[in-house]
């Protein structure tokens, strides 16, 4: 089993695809069995995928758009918000398939169809995959996860990220084989010959500020403890969004270090959290989020720092590395999803994230996308969609 990554910042989509694939093939020394590809929205993604599919000749392709750049073991590839990265896996003993479905009216059904398609392409219909790697349009990831679990049960790790664009303008895309979608769920079914390890971390710390959701509708949080959610949040954060409360506007950048957390479970008394990132204000004093909340859920104000957002990638990588060592195995490659919000928060220091990740993975190939929502599997086995998270899958051999 072999992993290889490649990247390109070439402006021409076909050239970028060609460059990337050439390097990939060269580094693999063989034709890949699956390709993961992430590009910025600035590419003619149809051209990229078309060319890539042409070059790969029927190999499953999974991917989508990433916010303002991509990263690999060679660092962040972003030339003024323009970049492309791909990861190839050559694994003759494994099986891989990619399935896609337009989300449409029933996200759950779409998710199931996508999974079935992926299993079918892998030649393993009915079989439980090692894990599923997701790329979906933002908006109903929770439903997608629920749909998948209805089909496979809750024990298959579901990881991945939501496609993103550079300016949160809805220009995100999802790639499945040679096709490109705008509102689809793309699933890669992975049956690798290597073991996989995964982690889903936030890098945030809970505060004492807590309240219960008393009114919510989908991804709009209207009230906490009976009070307008925006006011409550502003109070908890010491007026972080005072200005927007008065004037309106996007609060994405101001809330990144203060997401709302929901306790998913505890390990030896230590809770772990699923995060929701407020990105705007609703006319009724509510907060719009990148994830769904339910009435009755307890919200905890989380807090983080730029440093923690930078260091967490390395810490997650280190934890995986430690586990690999304990099992007398080596990391052979990784797939990384890093929250675009965090990336935007750390700004130019994102290179540190990429570098630190590269170091802890021992220079092994990895590919990372900056997404508008992250899916992962917590330590207790819970598959969740969250925001401001980092989701890492590591292949150990």
């Amino acid at each position: 089993m072999k992993f290889a990554s490649a990247r390109s910042v070439a402006r021409d989509p076909k050239v970028a695809a060609h460059e990337g694939y050439q390097v990939l093939a060269q580094r693999l020394g063989a034709a890949p069995d699956i390709i993961f590809v992430y590009t910025t929205e600035t590419y003619d993604t149809a051209a990229v995928n078309g060319r890539l599919a042409e070059l790969a000749g029927g190999v499953p392709i999974h991917g989508g758009t990433s916010c303002q750049g991509v990263m690999t073991d060679e660092g962040v590839a972003s030339d003024q918000g323009h970049g492309l990265a791909m990861m190839g896996i050559a694994d003759a003993e494994g099986a891989y398939g990619v399935g896609v479905s337009e989300i449409g009216e029933s996200p759950r059904e779409a998710a199931r169809r996508a999974v079935q398609g992926a299993l079918s392409q892998a030649g393993r219909p009915g079989q439980v995959p090692q894990m599923l790697w997701l790329m979906a349009a933002p908006g109903c990831e929770e439903e997608l996860i629920a749909g998948i679990q209805e089909l496979l049960g809750s024990k298959v790790p579901i990881l991945g990220g939501s496609s993103a664009d550079n300016t949160v303008a809805g220009q995100w895309k999802q790639f499945a084989n040679e096709e490109v979608f705008e509102n689809a769920v793309v699933v890669a079914a992975i049956f690798s010959s290597a073991d996989v390890d995964y982690s889903f971390h936030s890098g945030y710390e809970p505060t004492a500020k807590r309240g219960r959701v008393t009114r919510a509708e989908g991804r709009v949080l209207y009230a906490i403890d009976g009070q307008p959610a925006a006011q409550v949040y502003n109070a908890w954060t010491g007026g972080a969004i005072d200005e927007e409360l008065e004037q309106g506007g996007n609060i994405l950048g101001k809330t990144t270090l203060f997401p709302l957390g929901r306790e998913v479970g505890t390990i030896e008394g230590t809770p772990y959290f699923q995060l929701s990132h407020p990105d705007g204000l609703s006319p009724q004093g509510g907060l719009t989020l990148f994830s769904t909340v339910e009435e009755g859920e307890e919200l905890v104000l989380m807090t983080g720092t730029v440093d923690s957002l930078i260091s967490r990638a390395g810490r997650v990588g280190q934890a995986v590395r430690d586990i690999a060592a304990s099992e007398d195995k080596e990391i052979v490659g990784s797939l990384v999803i890093y929250c675009a919000g965090c990336m935007l928060t750390v700004q130019e220091r994102i290179d540190e994230v990429a570098r630190e990740m590269g170091e802890v993975l021992g220079g092994k190939p990895y590919i990372g996308a900056f997404t508008f929502g992250e899916q992962g599997c917590f330590i207790g086995g819970e598959n969740r969609h969250g925001n401001l998270m980092i989701s890492v899958v590591t292949f150990l051999s």
């Binding site: 439980v128 496979l152 298959v156 230590t270």
Partner: protein, 717 residues
């Protein structure tokens, strides 16, 4: 980054690592235990039971199955946790091949899997999700299937664990196979040694009855080179006539469970035939037949020869028996035919002589005396010939009973006394004082003594005859020694050689001058031997002879119930005789004597005899008439023949003894059938053989009781 943040995240990472490590440890321990079971337990059922228990802890399945078979497409259930589930056919396809290839397969919905769609699983088996683990691909594919009713129960973690187990299990089973192979190799080596050392033909056949291996004895025995028979059909070696039989036997072996045994003829390379006796058993697991064949050609030929010989011997024996029977029949007939006229000749001669003497006419007295003497001699010959015949036919039995020897000796001496006087011999008896009791056949002892004494009396003239009877201990037991010494003519060494043979009197000239049948000593020797003793003789011509008889004090014969009964009868008769009141004469006797006999001559003779003695007589000519007259006349005594029409004498005797009114009437059996013992056993009071001794008849009548309350009289000859 705050301190608490770092701490919390670190704790989570540590806990995650700890969980991983714990899971790994538990899995490893479980796997090791599983492998130990796989490697160490030889019993398949126990092995899988142990394995199921451990894997159930690790994988959490609800049911588990193990399928195996020669083909992936048709694997049979060999073990399961599902009680009562015995027969399931697993038609392996893609998932099975994948699992057997070392990659366990978890299925979240079995309905989507071809194997499960083909599986005729019972409704009770709720297997929505399943985990398929290849245990081995070769030599026979073996698959473990774990199931759970919850959809998607099995995950990548299970697969990962199962993969480790599968790898290790394959290795463990391989090691197990290697051990078994080594063991088999050892067993094969041992078997080969026996194989090669055996003198019997040995071979191994496959299920198609082809020879896989033959031992040197089989190769050589059938005339082939080593290894030349391999691959040939076993039946092709069998001669054509026996081939169907052999085929049937081997078919029975293959279809049944028990070993078979058969023999058949085989054609050797040289073309001759050998008969081999085979025993064959079938190893159902290995699908091979073990055969061991013993060459019984010579044995069978010898048996055939023996069978022919036996047949000939049987024929000869049958012929001999037939001849013996004919001889007995002849002798019996001769006895009867001779005795009947002799009875008349002697009886009437005696009557005529007595009447002539009574009238003072002695003109023909000597002639009549000679007629009577010759008749007696003839009777004696007939009796002895019959007796010897019975002895030689081993029909004569020994009837041991305790008796005092002294009185018996004196009785015999008394009876032989006239013979001593006749030849003017002196006689001396030396009877040991404490001679005591003897347990033997009194009649035979009596006959031995009589024969020896009468022999000495006849071959000695004006000489001395001495009888010594002593006790002695010989060969560790008490013996009676009887010596009869005479000063008679003696014998030459040549004459001594055949002295105990029949019809071999020392000097044939004596037969003209001396009474004797020439059978006495032969009979005496036989009687001695029958009583467990012996007889020997020392003699010198013109000086005399000494016969020495040794008889055990207690004869060792296992008596039959019948013998015992007869002995009791004789004993009782003897006791009654001793207390029976004697009568002075028969003239004064009350009532008549009823004679029951079919021979009119006998009636005439009997009437002359009895009426001369003053005894009234009534005649009955068959058994029925006899019984009628017995009832009508209530005779004082009955003289009864045996061979009669209508009802024979034995049945008459039985009836007489079974009715109260006849029970006390004395019965004397007078017949030509020499079976005194039977007569006594049936209740006769005495027995006389025809031609009967008239004096003995009158003597018996004299002694027989004549009152109603009198006991049954008896006497002995």
């Amino acid at each position: 980054m705050t301190e608490s943040e770092t701490l919390r995240e670190t704790l989570l990472d540590l806990e995650r690592a700890r969980r991983k490590e714990r899971e790994l440890r538990l899995e490893t321990e479980g796997l090791l235990r599983g492998l130990e079971i796989l490697g160490s337990i030889t019993d398949t059922e126990a092995m899988f039971a142990g394995l199921f228990e451990i894997l159930q802890e690790l994988l959490g399945f609800e049911q588990a199955f193990v399928f195996t078979g020669t083909r992936v497409e048709a694997m049979h259930l060999v073990a399961t946790t599902c009680s009562g589930q015995k027969a399931l056919l697993w038609r392996g396809q893609e998932v099975t091949r994948q699992a057997l290839g070392g990659e366990p397969v978890a299925v979240f919905n079995t309905a989507m899997i071809a194997e499960w769609r083909d599986l005729q699983a019972p409704r009770s088996l709720s297997a929505t999700s399943a985990l398929h683990i290849g245990l081995r691909r070769e030599p026979e594919p073996s698959l473990m299937v774990c199931t759970h009713s919850e959809p998607g129960f099995f995950s990548a973690k299970h697969v990962q664990l199962a993969r480790r187990f599968s790898m290790l299990a394959t290795q463990a089973l391989l090691n197990r196979d290697l051990r078994e192979l080594k063991l088999q190799a050892f067993e094969r080596s041992t078997r080969d040694q026996f194989f090669n050392a055996s003198d019997d033909a040995m071979c191994i056949l496959d299920a198609q009855r082809r020879l896989v291996q033959t031992n040197p004895s089989m190769d050589v025995g059938l005339g082939y080179e080593a290894g030349e028979l391999a691959g040939r059909s076993f039946e092709s070696l069998v001669v054509e006539e026996d081939r169907a039989w052999v085929r049937a036997q081997v078919s029975e072996l293959l279809s049944g469970h028990a070993p078979v045994g058969f023999d058949a003829r085989f054609t050797t390379e040289r073309g001759d035939e050998r008969r081999l006796q085979w025993k064959m058993s079938f190893d159902r697991e290995a699908r091979i037949i073990y055969g061991s064949g013993r060459d019984i050609t010579e044995q069978r030929e010898a048996e055939d020869a023996l069978r022919v010989l036996n047949e000939e011997l049987r024929t000869t024996r049958d012929e001999a028996l037939q001849a013996s029977k004919a001889k007995s029949t002849f002798l019996a007939t001769m006895s009867h035919e001779l005795r009947t006229p002799l009875n008349a000749i002697m009886g009437y001669s005696e009557i005529v002589l007595e009447e002539m003497v009574a009238e003072g006419d002695t003109t023909y007295a000597d002639d009549l005396g000679r007629i009577i003497s010759a008749g007696k001699h003839l009777v004696s010959i007939i009796s002895n010939v019959l007796e010897l015949s019975k002895i030689e036919a081993e029909r004569m039995q020994v009837h041991p009973e305790p008796f005092e020897l002294g009185p018996l000796v004196e009785e015999v001496v008394a009876s032989v006394g006239p013979l001593f006087k006749k030849n003017d011999n002196r006689f001396e008896l030396r009877l040991a004082q404490d001679i005591g009791e003897l347990v033997s056949d009194a009649a035979k002892v009596r006959q031995i003594l009589y024969n020896l004494l009468s022999n000495a009396a006849r071959f000695t003239r004006r000489g001395q005859v001495t009888l010594r009877v002593d006790r002695a201990v010989e060969a560790g037991s008490e013996q009676i020694i009887v010596c009869v010494q005479d000063t008679g003519v003696g014998m030459t060494p040549e004459q001594l050689e055949g002295v105990f043979e029949a019809f071999s009197q020392a000097d044939s000239s004596w037969t003209r001058t001396v009474d004797g049948t020439g059978l006495g000593l032969a009979i005496t020797r036989h009687l001695c031997e029958m009583l467990g003793g012996e007889i020997e003789v020392a003699s010198e011509s013109e000086v005399g002879s000494t016969f020495r008889v040794r008889l055990p004090r207690e004869v060792n014969v296992v008596a039959s119930a019948e013998d015992f009964e007869q002995a009791l009868v004789r004993s009782a008769s003897a006791r009654k005789m001793s207390v029976a009141p004697e009568r002075e004469d028969v003239e004064g006797a009350q009532g008549c004597v009823l004679v029951i006999d079919d021979d009119p001559d006998l009636h005439a003779l009997m009437r002359r005899t009895l009426e001369t003695a003053g005894v009234a007589m009534e005649s009955a000519y068959n058994g029925a008439e006899g019984l009628h007259l017995a009832h009508k006349l209530a005779p004082r005594a009955i003289v009864l023949d045996v061979s009669m029409p209508v009802i024979d004498g034995w049945d008459v005797l039985r009836l007489l003894r079974s009715y109260e009114e006849f029970r006390e009437i004395p019965v004397l059996v007078v017949t030509m059938v020499d079976n005194r013992q039977k007569a006594l056993a049936l209740g006769a009071d005495d027995f006389l053989l025809k031609p009967f001794d008239r004096k003995a008849l009158l003597e018996w009548l004299r002694r027989a009781p004549q009152d109603d309350a009198g006991g049954v009289a008896s006497s002995s000859r």
